[in-house]
């Protein structure tokens, strides 16, 4: 492994990050495991770009003592309404305490952070493939693509019908959503591969975007390489600082035949799909 790349002096591609105090507007369950959090936030926050995230200071509540902040993708940001949205899975200490937030509560959030997705003006249709929390990260991308006149073919993978989320949100932006499920076997890699190849044949795959599943990442890397389709992936790693300072969030990446460590918070969380190592 080579030492991390020189990116540490790079300027981020959006609003200056700041530690902002937001106020909870709503925090409702969308299904048995996910909640949708909407907060009122200062203007900078609402300028978050697709793929960027916030580092949330989860409350010391209900016997939970989260120590670190928790990174959450921006699921939506409306500068006009002054809101920022998150879609999160209630998993451990931090997200359980987040789930206890009631409307009116304050939530300190650091951001917007990281490098988001980029869209090439030349693309006409992109394919967005997500699973689970990955959809939270991909939703703003679909909306940005629509706004830029780029059509979106979305493939949602989920355990079963009840786990499917966000379809309306994607469809509202004009995306075409195909849902594949573990429960009926339609999420089988071979079937998803066939589906993606069909889209490519139809000229509807100028780029691949993915988040939320290692299996899907591996599939898209292989297809992308074979078909010459570029792609981007949003990755996760445990974070302490979120600002590129602690080097705890590194993951390995391929760079010119070498393996380098990059910080997900600072060099990502969005990376070139071929450089990512699952």
């Amino acid at each position: 492994m080579k030492p991390p790349p020189e990116s540490s002096v790079v300027v981020p591609d959006s609003a200056q990050p700041a530690d902002l105090l937001s106020r909870v507007i709503s925090n409702d369950w969308v299904n048995a495991r996910y909640k949708h959090l909407v907060v009122a936030a200062p203007p900078q926050a609402a300028q978050a770009r697709p793929g960027q995230f916030f580092h949330l200071l989860c409350p010391d509540a209900g016997g939970e003592h989260p120590f670190f902040r928790r990174p959450m993708s921006c699921y939506g940001a409306s500068p006009r309404q002054g809101t920022v949205e998150f879609l999160y899975k209630v998993a451990g200490t931090g997200t359980r305490s987040l789930a206890s937030l009631v409307p009116g509560a304050t939530l300190p959030m650091l951001g917007p952070l990281g490098h988001g997705f980029s869209l090439e003006p030349a693309w006409r249709t992109i394919v967005v493939v997500g699973r689970g929390v990955g959809l939270a990260t991909l939703a703003p991308l679909a909306e940005a693509a629509a706004a830029a006149g780029i059509a979106v073919q979305a493939v949602f993978s989920a355990r079963d019908r009840d786990s499917v989320m966000s379809v309306e949100r994607f469809e509202a932006s004009g995306a075409r959503v195909t849902v594949v499920l573990d429960s009926d076997g339609s999420s089988d890699p071979a079937k998803v591969e066939a589906l993606l190849r069909r889209l490519h044949v139809q000229g509807m795959a100028d780029a691949f975007f993915t988040c939320g599943s290692t299996r899907l990442l591996v599939l898209l890397q292989r297809l992308g390489r074979e078909l010459g389709v570029p792609g981007q992936v949003a990755l996760e790693q445990q974070m302490a600082c979120g600002l590129g300072m602690c080097f705890c969030c590194v993951r390995p990446f391929r760079e010119d035949d070498e393996v380098v460590n990059r910080r997900v918070c600072w060099d990502g969380p969005v990376f070139d799909i071929q450089e990512a190592m699952p």
Binding site: P4, D19, L57, H65, R69, Q238, L243, C248
Partner: protein
């Protein structure tokens, strides 16, 4: 108005607040005004290029964190060509933390970074001494003295030596470093610790053990700061679990001439400035005109240190 300036040996700082090595980088300059700090201390660099330790590199524990980042380093040329010019735009003194696996290595990197724009060198000697069984230099008075003497030879810059808390008698190491020529001591690095995920039965850090930091270590390191400040005449810089103005004041009363803030910044990026503002307000409230008057001002003269007795 309280005079917030302090002296760390020959180096005068506008105030006693600075980041701890490894918990600060350029990213923070986007969120806070780093010119307000007493100094900046960069993450330890080494001569060799290093990738650091395996992931997971951090774990959350009650009121603190474990880390096993290691020292991913891009080497000296990167420091000279990229990092140093970046910090030249700020007026705040730059302290460069260095490390090496050998005494000669320490001397050579200290020499290499003794260039204009560097205000002081902090020697992170809590790293394995490859010439002596891999025990950290800071674990024995003798090896601490040897490496400090070599560093002293190698650089005309103020030399801060950072000690490890993982010793039985930190005052002895402090005295050894002082006698060998250190201008100041940083007390201390992280406390060796570990945690296990009981469901997977795996260590929560990829390298099994790592360093404990955050509020959890404050009472331990305040004690060490007190012991070191009593043992040496050179300034002691306190570092461990500082998250509030009250914490920083506690360290200064224990004998610290300045303090470093590490983990708190991860949770609260503005922690250092909040601490600074809080100290200033506290001093104003208490009618303290010079923050330096707090240094070692603990009222302990009428107390007897009971022989440690558990």
């Amino acid at each position: 108005m309280t005079d917030m300036s302090v002296s760390v040996g020959a180096l005068r700082l506008a105030n006693p607040i600075m980041p701890a090595s490894g918990t600060f980088a350029e990213g923070l300059a986007e969120v806070i005004d780093i010119e307000r700090l007493g100094a900046v201390v960069i993450k330890t660099i080494t001569t060799e290029l290093r990738a650091g330790n395996p992931v997971p590199r951090v774990a959350e524990v009650r009121s603190g964190m474990l880390n096993s980042i290691g020292i991913p380093s891009k080497g000296v040329p990167y420091f000279l060509e990229r990092t140093l010019p970046y910090y030249r735009r700020f007026a705040v003194p730059l302290v460069v933390s260095v490390s090496a696996p050998t005494v000669a290595g320490f001397a050579s990197i200290a020499k290499a970074v003794s260039v204009p724009g560097v205000a002081a060198i902090e020697a992170n000697i809590s790293c394995p001494n490859l010439e002596e069984d891999g025990r950290a230099f800071a674990m024995e008075p003798r090896s601490a003295a040897t490496v400090t003497a070599a560093l002293r030879e190698a650089t005309p810059l103020p030399l801060w030596v950072k000690l490890t808390p993982n010793v039985g008698d930190i005052a002895a190491v402090a005295r050894a470093a002082e006698n060998a020529g250190a201008d100041a001591l940083v007390v201390a690095n992280t406390v060796l610790a570990m945690a296990i995920d009981i469901d997977t039965r795996r260590p929560r850090l990829g390298s099994i053990m790592g360093g404990l930091s955050g509020p959890v270590i404050k009472p331990i390191v305040v004690r060490m700061t007190y012991q070191c400040a009593k043992a040496v005449k050179i300034p002691v810089i306190g570092c461990g679990g500082i998250a509030s103005a009250e914490d920083a004041i506690e360290y200064m009363l224990a004998g610290a001439a300045a303090v470093q803030v590490g983990t708190a910044t991860f949770v609260q990026p503005s922690a250092m400035l909040a601490i600074l503002d809080g100290m200033e307000a506290w001093c104003a409230r208490k009618g303290i005109h010079r923050v330096a008057d707090l240094i070692g001002a603990i009222r302990d003269t009428d107390l007897e240190l009971a022989p440690a007795q558990y």
